[in-house]
């Protein structure tokens, strides 16, 4: 589907030197090269962290932690691998650590919202289509939410998503299928609520 491929996420095409070259330059002692990598991916990594953790401060800390770990272990980055997949995997691990800590301390599976305001379905009524979709994604169970977020960031590169999550590709496809199903159902319910 060329039309859809053309709409694939912005991470796929980048002007300037490719990520592998930037990694090599960083290892040769050029700090500006790593700064370019940060500039390219900090927003996407933050997006993944925020969508997974749903907390601004924790997402910020997880993003910083991911880049710090990536910088420290840049020598272990395999030439030819995708930097985006690598940094997303590190960020995802950082988020999992934080979620596990949360579970340990609070005994809850999903993060608490700071406010006791209306749930995603209620908020959706007055919002536009994109905001509704975002709310619907927020209402998904965590495993589906993460898959959808990575699908948003990496497009139909299921193998890359599977690498980030450490799951078999079949499981990723199944999660994605169910996530889309739930999204459609949630969006449908929101539509009904609105009318």
């Amino acid at each position: 589907m060329p039309a859809l491929l053309a709409e694939a996420p912005r991470l796929l095409v980048r002007p300037g030197p490719d990520d592998g070259e930037l990694v090599a330059l960083t290892l040769r002692g050029n700090p500006d090269a790593f700064a370019t990598l940060v500039e390219r991916y900090d927003r996407a990594v933050y997006h993944l962290a925020y969508r997974t953790l749903r907390d601004v401060e924790e997402a910020r800390d997880a993003t910083q932690e991911a880049f710090f770990k990536a910088f420290r272990s840049l020598r272990t980055f395999k030439p030819g691998a995708k930097f985006s997949t690598w940094i997303f995997a590190i960020a995802y691990h950082a988020c999992c650590d934080r979620l596990n800590r949360r579970k340990h301390y609070t005994g809850e599976q999903l993060p608490e919202r700071a406010d006791a305001g209306p749930g995603p379905e209620q908020q959706v009524i007055e919002l536009d289509r994109a905001a509704r979709l975002r709310c619907a994604i927020d209402a998904l169970p965590e495993k589906y939410r993460t898959v959808i977020t990575l699908f948003h960031l990496q497009g139909r590169q299921y193998d890359e998503i599977a690498t980030v999550l450490g799951l078999p590709m079949g499981t990723v496809k199944t999660h994605l299928f169910r996530a889309k199903e739930q999204l459609r159902r949630l969006l449908g319910e929101m539509e009904v609520t609105e009318t």
Binding site: R72, Y92, H93, T163, G166, R184, L187
Partner: protein, 126 residues
């Protein structure tokens, strides 16, 4: 809103990314690429520590026994060192150790921040 698969995917791809908090990029860079260099390198710190220890030791010797004890101790150390360094086997082992260390640094290079355990393609913990 009944979306087919393509419409839903288009809508997902069209979602804008979350806006990170102000200053996040700067703090990432300050802790990684633009991290200020430490005032002393590890080798410099080790050398300073060794010099400090020797100076302290000399002061203790001078305080305890005056110049005589200090000179006697230095002479004893000089004797031991000259005996050890005049031994051909010891010199050969020292040369072999130095050459091996030099050879290893050529392959491993200098890693300013050490090596963390993360690898590309590692599996998630769950």
């Amino acid at each position: 809103m009944t979306m087919d698969d393509n419409e839903l995917e288009r809508a997902i791809f069209a979602l804008p990314l979350e806006e990170p908090p102000a200053g996040m990029r700067a703090s990432i860079l300050m802790s990684t690429a633009y991290r200020p260099a430490p005032a002393f390198s590890f080798l410099e710190l080790a050398a300073l520590g060794a010099l400090g220890a020797v100076a302290l030791w000399m002061v203790v010797l001078l305080v305890l026994g005056g110049g005589t004890l200090f000179i006697q101790t230095l002479a004893a150390i000089g004797n031991v060192a000259s005996r050890v360094l005049s031994n051909a086997t010891t010199l050969a082992w020292l040369a072999a150790g130095g050459a091996t260390a030099l050879w290893l640094t050529l392959f491993t290079g200098y890693q300013p921040l050490g090596v963390a355990p993360h690898r590309s393609g590692t599996r998630a913990e769950r």
